[in-house]
Amino acid sequence: MSDTVNHSIQVRELTRKFGDFTAVDHITFDVKQGEIFGFLGANGAGKTTAIRMLCGLLSPTSGQAEVCGYDLFDQTEEIKRNIGYMSQRFSLYEDLTVEENILFYGGIYGMKRRELRSQTDILLDRLGLGPIKRVLISELPLGWKQKLAFSTALIHDPAIVFLDEPTGGVDPLTRRQFWEMIYETAHHGTTVFVTTHYMDEAEYCDRVSIMVDGRIAALDTPRKLKEQFSANSMDEVFVKLARP
């Protein structure tokens, strides 16, 4: 890594309240360009609220943040154009075909027709889905859907991709293939911001933050977190933090 570290995400004292309830409570962190950043926390810790803010979908109550160099308060449209997003629950349209989904997402991300055509062919080829490009998404196995959803989230070559539990319920082999796609993506300089409930996957991240009650309770490399909490695995670290 070079001396001048580029940050994809810079967050300072970011806070979001819903009435009296503070869902995200003065969080501060940076994510480097090309980093795989694991964003962990128990149910209800504030992860989803934080991610929705970082994607420009929810306005913060207070604090400061920049995502790909754009301000989270008044440049949310620019942010949306420069990020990719995929979640476990909602990623692709079940009643569109493989190809239609790619074209649809590329269109939404504002890609030019010719560029989108060639990118679509490259993508279908790389995933080996060419022969089934006219098959409905609803007929595909989950593992394929998730790999396709990930590639679709990257079709416009975003600076950052947000992955919200991308591997939930996926079989062990596909889960590992998926993570190799993540490694490859980060290797090419795209920043990966990922949440997961599988603690072994937390080990694959360059750095991991763990949210507890709206705050970031720990943030470091998996190795250093394990040292800090005298734990053998990230699972132990998580349990020590989330159930003190």
Binding site: G41, A42, N43, G44, G128, L129, G130, P131, I132, V135, E139, L140, P141, L142, G143, W144, E165, G168, G169, V170, D171, P172, L173, T174, R176, W179, E180, Y183, E184, H187, H197, Y198, M199, D200, E203, Y204, P222, R223, S233, M234, D235, F238, V239, A242, R243
Partner: protein, 312 residues
């Protein structure tokens, strides 16, 4: 031999072109905590719904305590507690109202069965006047379990109770299941989390509508075909690529902070491999023989995806 509490014989089920279950045979003994372990789409929910008398199989038969799930479905329903994968309680009723509603349906009361659910109920009691929809994921699961237990069922059928629940709540839920087992309840529970297999007496590994293996987690692990090694280094991504290029490499899978490796030659001199990796530019390499876990076994037993041609 103890009586079979749950018996499935040659069960098959399809949804149009999609095979959900292919020739499933399994037997759960009295007092067992039995895990049905596999990824989404493996067929877990179809199997549990057939056993819960909510879905008809295309072929085969199933019985619970000797009662047929089709012919004797009314009796079967009295004996089972069923917790579906999707939260299915009444969202606009409070915690206590939900429990009392289910108790009334089964012609019993919260007070009559309080001893059975006490350990779980005390955890949600502080929220007893809260609407079910306002509970956290872990609390919802505990409430659903209370409702499934309120009529003192002989058998619990739990469909993915720990999916989408955080690591801490998952642990708590399995501790509760161990207590239920001590009360003599037979439990069939499904999960996509391979690491939860160790909590069960026996498990069925299920994938692509078929059962791969049924046994105790220890026996399944002992049956892993070849010596397994953990390779630990600094740069996992490059390490993966180099290990695959090693002339004798078998399987190479990332597992948390290490890589699980098998060699085509079986047992190897670990120092040789470490030295080869050092020559590829890796520092601080460790290669250690390790015991396989359920996830290693699951992948070895054939978790491969069908290729694109089978979907054309």
């Amino acid at each position: 031999m103890a009586e079979a509490m749950i018996l499935a014989e040659n069960l098959s089920k399809s949804y149009r072109k999609v095979k959900a279950l292919t020739d499933i045979n399994l037997e759960v003994k009295e007092g067992e905590l039995f895990g049905l372990i596999g990824p989404d789409g493996a067929g877990k929910t179809s199997l549990i719904r057939i056993l819960a008398t909510l879905l008809l199989a295309d072929k085969g038969r199933a019985s619970l305590m000797g009662l047929d799930v089709v012919k004797d479905f009314r009796k079967v329903r009295q004996m089972i507690g069923y917790m579906p994968g999707r939260f299915s309680l009444y969202r606009d009723l409070t915690v206590e109202e939900n429990i009392r509603l289910f108790a009334t349906i089964f012609d019993t009361s919260l007070e009559d069965n309080y001893d059975l659910i006490r350990d779980i109920y005390v955890q949600i009691e502080p929220f007893r006047h809260r609407r079910a929809e306002a509970l956290s994921g872990g609390m919802k699961q505990k409430l659903a379990l209370c409702c499934a237990l309120i009529h003192r069922p002989n058998i619990l059928l739990l469909d993915e109770p720990t999916t989408g629940v955080d690591a801490v709540s998952r642990r708590e839920f399995w501790e509760i299941l161990a207590q239920m087992q001590k009360q003599g309840i037979t439990i069939l529970v499904s999960t996509p989390y391979m690491d939860e297999a160790g909590r069960c007496n026996r498990v069925a590994l299920i994938h692509n509508s078929k059962i791969l293996q049924i046994d105790s987690p220890a026996n399944i692990e002992a049956g892993f075909g070849s010596p397994l090694y953990a390779v630990i280094g600094q740069d996992t991504y490059r390490l993966l690529q180099h290990l695959r290029q090693y002339p004798h490499s078998g399987t190479v899978y990332p597992f948390g902070d290490s890589i699980h490796y098998t060699d085509q030659r079986g047992e190897i001199n670990t120092a040789d491999l470490a030295e080869w990796l050092r020559r590829q530019g890796h520092a601080n390499i460790e290669v250690l023989p390790i015991a396989p876990n359920i996830e290693d076994c699951f992948m070895a037993l054939g978790s491969s995806q069908p290729d694109a041609s089978s979907y054309v």
